[in-house]
């Protein structure tokens, strides 16, 4: 058989196949057109379309559906990567905010410096302790250091440090806020990096009660309030609060606090 015949036959066969399949696909896609969420379609367009299943869903379309339904994370597609995530965000209206990132701040300096009321045996979880008897710390407002927040963080950003207080690794934190929601004592609070001076206490107890149980609790003595040149500190209900808008991070309060419970980061 000559080369030309071979080539012609090949062309005819495959061309025929292409024709049949092209017609079939077009016809089928016309005939069986189903109503779909246009958002999903749009997201499908953006996705790599490898249908590799690497996202954990059954193909790109499935992932797109889940993303639109907010069941899947924007950056769930490892193939597309960050750019795809951003593009998806643009479609479904979840802009990646350009504002400064906030990280959880621990409003308690007690830890091992705060007395325990009893000896606890059981699961390592703050909520569990609270369920048993309002928490083991002498201070009702204090961090129990049993790491409910640690377990709540899906990114492993929190750990309990040597003072039995949580510490947040900013490199890992995504500001998702799950730890804030999980803490039974509301110890954690979002704070921007630029907000540098914080009161490391959450206790509204009277000074005497605080002193009895904790070495570093705010006793509401108002020394900081008096000394702040910017008028940024107010003591309400036995607890100093800093107005971050006014605070210039001069550090005077940090120096003056007799309990050392104001911290400069």
């Amino acid at each position: 058989m000559s080369l030309t015949t071979l080539i012609i036959q090949a062309m005819a066969t495959l061309g025929g196949l292409g024709l049949v399949i092209g017609i079939m696909l077009i016809a089928a896609s016309r005939m069986f057109k189903v109503e779909t969420n246009p958002l999903v379609e749009e997201v499908v367009e953006i996705l790599p379309g490898a249908n590799c299943g690497a996202c954990g869903y059954a193909g790109c379309a499935d992932f797109a559906e889940k993303v639109v339904a907010e069941d899947a994370p924007l950056d769930g597609c490892p193939v597309g990567g960050f750019d795809t995530a951003k593009a998806i965000g643009a479609i479904i209206g979840q802009e990646v905010s350009e504002s400064e990132k906030e990280y959880p701040y621990v409003r308690c300096g007690g830890g091992i410096r705060c007395v325990d009321r009893f000896d606890y045996v059981g699961i390592e979880d703050c909520t569990a302790v609270i369920m048993l008897s309002d928490g083991e710390k002498g201070c009702n407002y204090g961090c129990m250091g049993r790491g409910t927040c640690v377990r709540a963080c899906p990114f492993g950003a929190i750990s309990i440090d040597e003072n039995r207080l949580p510490s947040v690794n900013k490199n890992l934190c995504t500001s998702c806020g799950l730890c804030l929601a999980a803490c039974p004592n509301d110890i954690l609070m979002f704070a921007k990096d630029s907000e540098r001076v914080h009161v490391q206490c959450n206790s509204h107890d009277k000074g005497k009660a605080v002193k009895a149980v904790c070495e570093v609790g705010c006793i509401g003595c108002k020394i900081c309030e008096k000394n702040c040149p910017e008028d940024a500190i107010k003591v309400t209900n036995f607890l100093a609060e800093i107005d971050q808008d006014k605070c210039t991070a001069c550090g005077i309060c940090v120096e003056k606090c007799p309990q050392n419970c104001i911290e400069m980061r």
Partner: protein
């Protein structure tokens, strides 16, 4: 023709166009590679034949009855090996045998009196790499050089061939291939 129908035609046209170009490209590659393939195949066979039967200078193919391609070629059953002066020195052959994983194509030579194997070669196999694939390695193949046909069995069943550890099946398959083909030739020549 409506706009959308025109689109369809364009789409299908592009699809067909690409198919056609693709097939042309393939056909163009196919021709020289296929030539090469045939050449490789023939070369491999001749060189293997020479290897399994070093004393021979010329191989005369013995054809069977089965036609194997459109050109009317007949199946080759085995070869008669002759030395430079045309004396029959033995027989050489190829044989496919079921191994542990798939077909093994064994080449072999036997002297004219069907006394001893002159050498073997492995043309193709799909045995487990590292296990059965060792049948294609020299330490195994060289065991067969000048081995008596009577001793053509595994050492554990009293023969002269040490099987490859972990690959008894493959080793046995090679031996079986030789034994059976030698038997067949004997019958054919008788």
């Amino acid at each position: 023709m409506t706009d959308s129908n025109k689109d369809i035609v364009i789409i299908i046209g592009k699809l067909v166009l690409i198919s056609v170009i693709a097939s042309a490209l393939l056909a163009v590659t196919f021709v020289p590679t296929n030539e090469q393939l045939k050449k490789n195949y023939a070369e491999a066979r001749t060189s293997t034949l020479a290897e399994v039967m070093p004393s021979a200078a010329e191989f005369e193919a013995i054809y069977g009855d089965t036609v194997i391609n459109d050109e009317g070629d007949k199946e080759i059953l085995y070869y008669r090996a002759k030395d430079g002066s045309g004396n029959l020195v033995g027989y050489a052959f190829f044989r496919k045998q079921v191994g542990a994983q798939g077909l093994i194509e064994v080449a072999g030579g036997v002297d004219s009196s069907f006394n001893a194997i002159t050498g073997i070669g492995i043309m193709a196999h799909t045995e487990t790499p590292g296990l059965g694939s060792k049948i294609a390695d020299d330490p195994f193949k060289s065991q067969f050089t000048n081995v008596k046909v009577a001793d053509l069995s595994l050492s554990k069943s009293g023969g002269a061939i040490d099987s490859i550890t972990g690959a008894t099946i493959s080793s046995q398959a090679v031996i079986d291939a030789l034994n059976e083909q030698v038997g067949d030739i004997k019958v054919a020549e008788a």
